[in-house]
C-alpha cells in the first residue's frame, strides 16, 4: 500500500506539471497566428484577452488541454455511438480488429513456440529468422496488405487484423520459447527421475512455468496489435477507425479532432495493456505466486 502512495504523489505532480507546460506551449505556439489575426482585424487586445484567444482558436497549432478534453467528451459521451463522428464508434472499429488480430497472433505465436521447443530442426532453422524479423519495420507492409486484399475483394476487418496478427505473434513466440525453456535443470531432472512422459513434462512443468512469460509478452503483443490496426487504417479506403480519423483530421487541419483521436487511441491502449496485466496477475495469483 505504501509503495502505491509513494508513487501516486510524484506521478500526479508530474502530470500536473505537464498540463502546465502544455498550456504554456499552447499559448506560445498559437501566439504568432493570433497576432496575425488581430493585426488584420485591427484589434489590440490586452495580455489576458490575448492569452484567452490563443487558447480558443478553432484550428490551433497546439490545442489547449481543455479544448481537447471538451472535444473528447463531446465525441465520446454526447454522440450516438453509431454516429460517424462518435469516437466510441471509431475506437470500437479499431478495437475489434485489434482483438481479432491479437487472438490469432497469440495462438499462432504459442503454436510456433511449441514447435520450436520440440523440433530441433525448427529451432535451428526458424528461430534465427524470428529474431531477425523483429529487426524489420514490418509496419511498412501494412498499407500494401490492405490495398492488395482490397484488390481481390477482401476488405474490412480481415486485412487489418492480419497486420495485427503479424505484429503480435513475434513477441508471443519469442516469449513463449523463453518460457517453455525456463524450467530449471533440477525440475527437469526431477521429472526424469519420475520417468515422466513427454506430454507429462509439457503439461505439468513447461506450461505452468511459461505462464508468466506468456502474459509479459501478451502485454507487448496487445500494444503492437493496436498500433498495427491504427496504421492499417491509414491508407485511403478505410472510412472508420482511429487511424482513419487521424488521417481525415490531418487532411482538414482539424487539430483538436486529431488530438482527441490520439487520446482515444491512448485510452484504448492503456485499457488493453491494463486488462492483460490484470488477467496475468489473476492467473499468477491462482497459481500461488507471491503477491508483489
Amino acid at each position: 500500500m505504501d509503495r502505491a502512495r509513494d508513487k501516486i504523489v510524484p506521478v500526479l505532480t508530474i502530470l500536473a506539471g505537464l498540463v502546465v507546460v502544455w498550456y504554456v506551449a499552447a499559448v506560445l505556439l498559437n501566439a504568432p497566428f493570433q497576432r496575425d489575426l488581430d493585426r488584420r482585424a485591427g484589434e489590440t487586445p490586452d495580455t489576458i484577452e490575448f492569452i484567452a484567444k490563443t487558447l480558443s482558436q478553432p484550428k490551433p497549432t497546439m490545442p489547449a488541454p481543455h479544448q481537447v478534453a471538451e472535444n473528447f467528451f463531446e465525441n465520446t459521451f454526447l454522440r450516438k455511438i453509431t454516429s460517424n463522428r462518435s469516437l466510441v464508434y471509431h475506437a470500437w472499429v479499431t478495437l475489434s480488429s485489434t482483438l481479432l488480430g491479437f487472438a490469432f497472433g497469440t495462438a499462432l505465436g504459442i503454436v510456433i513456440a511449441v514447435g520450436i521447443v520440440h523440433v530441433q530442426a525448427l529451432d535451428r532453422s526458424l528461430m534465427p529468422w524470428i529474431i531477425a524479423s523483429q529487426t524489420i519495420p514490418i509496419l511498412a507492409i501494412a498499407p500494401m496488405v490492405v490495398v492488395v486484399f482490397a484488390a481481390v475483394g477482401i476488405t474490412g476487418i480481415v486485412p487489418k487484423s492480419l497486420i495485427s496478427t503479424y505484429l503480435s505473434f513475434f513477441p508471443v513466440a519469442v516469449g513463449m520459447v523463453k518460457g517453455l525453456r525456463s524450467p530449471e535443470f533440477m525440475h527437469l531432472d526431477l521429472m526424469h527421475t519420475y520417468n515422466a512422459s513427454a506430454s507429462q513434462l509439457f503439461w505439468k512443468l513447461r506450461v505452468p512455468a511459461s505462464v508468466p512469460f506468456l502474459f509479459a509478452s501478451m502485454k507487448v503483443a496487445v500494444a503492437a496489435s493496436l498500433v498495427g490496426a491504427i496504421v492499417a487504417e491509414l491508407p485511403t479506403g478505410a472510412v472508420a477507425g482511429i487511424g482513419s480519423k487521424l488521417l481525415a483530421a490531418s487532411y482538414y487541419s482539424q487539430t483538436i479532432d486529431m488530438w482527441s483521436a490520439l487520446v482515444a487511441g491512448s485510452i484504448v491502449a492503456a485499457l488493453l495493456v491494463t486488462l492483460v496485466g490484470l488477467a496475468g496477475r489473476l492467473v499468477d495469483r491462482s497459481m500461488g505466486a507471491r503477491p508483489a
Binding site: Q120, L126, I136, P137, L139, V148, A151, P235
Partner: protein, 384 residues
C-alpha cells in the same frame, strides 16, 4: 546392423514422386501435347521431367543408406536444390499452367531439404568454426526454401504479379531502381532516422540520469514512461508533420518521441541494477555521485541501455516510414511505399520493404556487435 535407416521425410518424398508419376502431366501444355501426339507442342519439362524424378528419388534413396551424415547431407542438398531449380526455371513462360504433379514434386524436394536440415541439426561438431558455420547454414537453407516455395507457387498457380510478385521479379526491380532506392534511403535513414534516433536516445538517457538524481522525479516518471511505452505513439505523426513541415525534420521528431520512452525506462531500470554490496563498497571509498555513476552504475546499466538501443532501432525505422505516410517531399521510403501501392506497382513496394529489412537488420546487427564489445562480462554474452 541394417544397411539402411528409414526417415519419414525421404519415404514421404518417394511416395509423393510415385503419386506425381501416376497423375501424369505436370502442366496444361503437356496435357495438350499428350492429347494430340500428331502436333508438336512445346511444353515445359519436356526434357527435364525424368531428371527431376531421378534426382528426388535418387537423393531420397541414397540418404537412407548407412553412409556418413555429411554424405547424406550432400546427396539431399544436391537432389533437393537441383530439382527445385529445374522446377523453377521450367515453369517460366508457362505461368499458371501447373497441375498437381508440379506441386507434389515441389513438396517432395522440400521434404528432402527438411531431412537435410534435420541431419544438420543433429550434427554436433567439436570444432568451433564448424559449429558457427552450421548456425548460419541451417537458417540459410530455411530462408532459401521460403523464397523457392514463394517463387514456385506464384509462377505455378499464375498469381497476378500485382497481388504477389515472385522474389525474382522483386530482385530485378531492386537491380533496376537502385538510384531511386538510394535516394529514398538517404532521405529516410540518413536524415530522419539517424537524427531522430540520436536525439530521442540522448534525451531519454539524460532524462533518466536526471530522474536518478532527483528521486521524486524518478518515482513519478517511471510509471508514466512505462504506460507511454505501450501507447500508439506513431499517432503523433500528423501533428509533427503539421508543426515541422513536410521535410525530414518532422520525421526525425516522430522518431525522437518514439525512441525517448524506451530509453528512459530501460536506463532508469538499469541504474537500479547494480548490487547493494557494490554500492556500499563505493560508499566506503567515499566516492561521489559522478564517480559511482561512471565506475559502477553505468557499466552495470549497460545491458539495459543496449536493450533500449536495440528496441529503438526497429521503432525508429517504423516511426520514420509511417510518418512519411502523412506527407513528404517526393522522396523517402514511406512516401514510395504509399504512392507505389496506390499505383499498384507492388514489386516496387516489395523492393522498398526488402531494403528496409536489410537496413533494419544491419542497424540491429551493428548495435548487437557494439553490445558484445561493451558488455563482454555479462552472462548473456559470455554464455554465447
Amino acid at each position: 546392423m541394417r544397411w539402411f535407416t528409414l526417415s519419414w521425410q525421404a519415404v514421404a518424398a518417394i511416395l509423393l514422386c510415385i503419386l506425381a508419376g501416376l497423375l501424369g502431366p505436370m502442366t496444361q501444355p503437356e496435357m495438350k501435347a499428350l492429347a494430340n501426339p500428331a502436333v508438336t507442342i512445346a511444353y515445359p519439362f519436356l526434357n527435364t521431367k525424368g531428371l527431376i524424378f531421378d534426382l528426388i528419388l535418387g537423393a531420397a534413396a541414397v540418404s537412407m543408406l548407412r553412409i556418413p551424415p555429411l554424405a547424406a547431407v550432400a546427396a539431399l542438398a544436391i537432389g533437393a536444390h537441383v530439382a527445385a531449380w529445374l522446377l523453377l526455371t521450367g515453369i517460366v513462360g508457362f505461368e499458371g499452367s501447373a497441375h498437381a504433379p508440379y506441386y507434389l514434386l515441389l513438396a517432395a524436394a522440400w521434404l528432402l531439404a527438411w531431412r537435410c536440415v534435420t541431419i544438420l541439426s543433429e550434427l554436433k561438431p567439436a570444432n568451433r568454426a564448424a559449429n558457427a558455420l552450421l548456425r548460419l547454414v541451417i537458417p540459410f537453407i530455411f530462408g532459401v526454401w521460403i523464397l523457392i516455395v514463394w517463387e514456385a507457387v506464384v509462377r505455378g498457380a499464375g498469381i497476378p504479379f500485382i497481388l504477389l510478385p515472385p522474389p525474382s521479379a522483386i530482385g530485378v526491380r531492386i537491380a533496376n531502381s537502385l538510384p531511386i532506392l538510394a535516394a529514398d534511403v538517404n532521405q529516410t535513414i540518413f536524415k530522419s532516422v539517424i537524427a531522430g534516433y540520436v536525439i530521442g536516445c540522448g534525451a531519454g538517457f539524460l532524462t533518466a540520469i536526471l530522474a536518478d538524481r532527483v528521486a521524486f522525479l524518478g518515482r513519478g516518471l517511471l510509471p508514466i514512461g512505462n504506460m507511454v511505452s505501450a501507447l500508439p505513439i506513431v499517432g503523433v505523426a500528423p501533428i509533427m508533420v503539421m508543426w515541422f513541415g513536410f521535410g525530414w525534420e518532422s520525421k526525425a521528431a516522430v522518431v525522437a518521441i518514439m525512441t525517448f520512452f524506451p530509453m528512459l525506462v530501460n536506463t532508469v531500470t538499469g541504474l537500479a541494477a547494480s548490487g547493494h554490496m557494490e554500492r556500499d563498497l563505493m560508499r566506503t571509498y567515499a566516492s561521489d555521485y559522478t564517480q559511482t555513476l561512471l565506475k559502477l552504475r553505468l557499466p552495470a546499466a549497460a545491458p539495459f541501455i543496449f536493450n533500449a538501443l536495440k528496441i529503438n532501432s526497429t521503432l525508429a525505422l517504423i516511426g520514420a516510414i509511417v510518418a512519411e505516410f502523412f506527407g513528404t517531399p517526393v522522396v523517402g521510403m514511406g512516401f514510395r511505399i504509399s504512392t507505389e501501392v496506390g499505383r499498384m506497382n507492388i514489386d516496387m513496394v516489395w523492393a522498398e520493404i526488402a531494403v528496409a529489412a536489410l537496413i533494419g537488420s544491419v542497424f540491429y546487427g551493428l548495435i548487437a556487435l557494439a553490445e558484445r564489445a561493451a558488455t563482454f562480462w555479462h552472462p548473456s554474452v559470455r554464455g554465447g
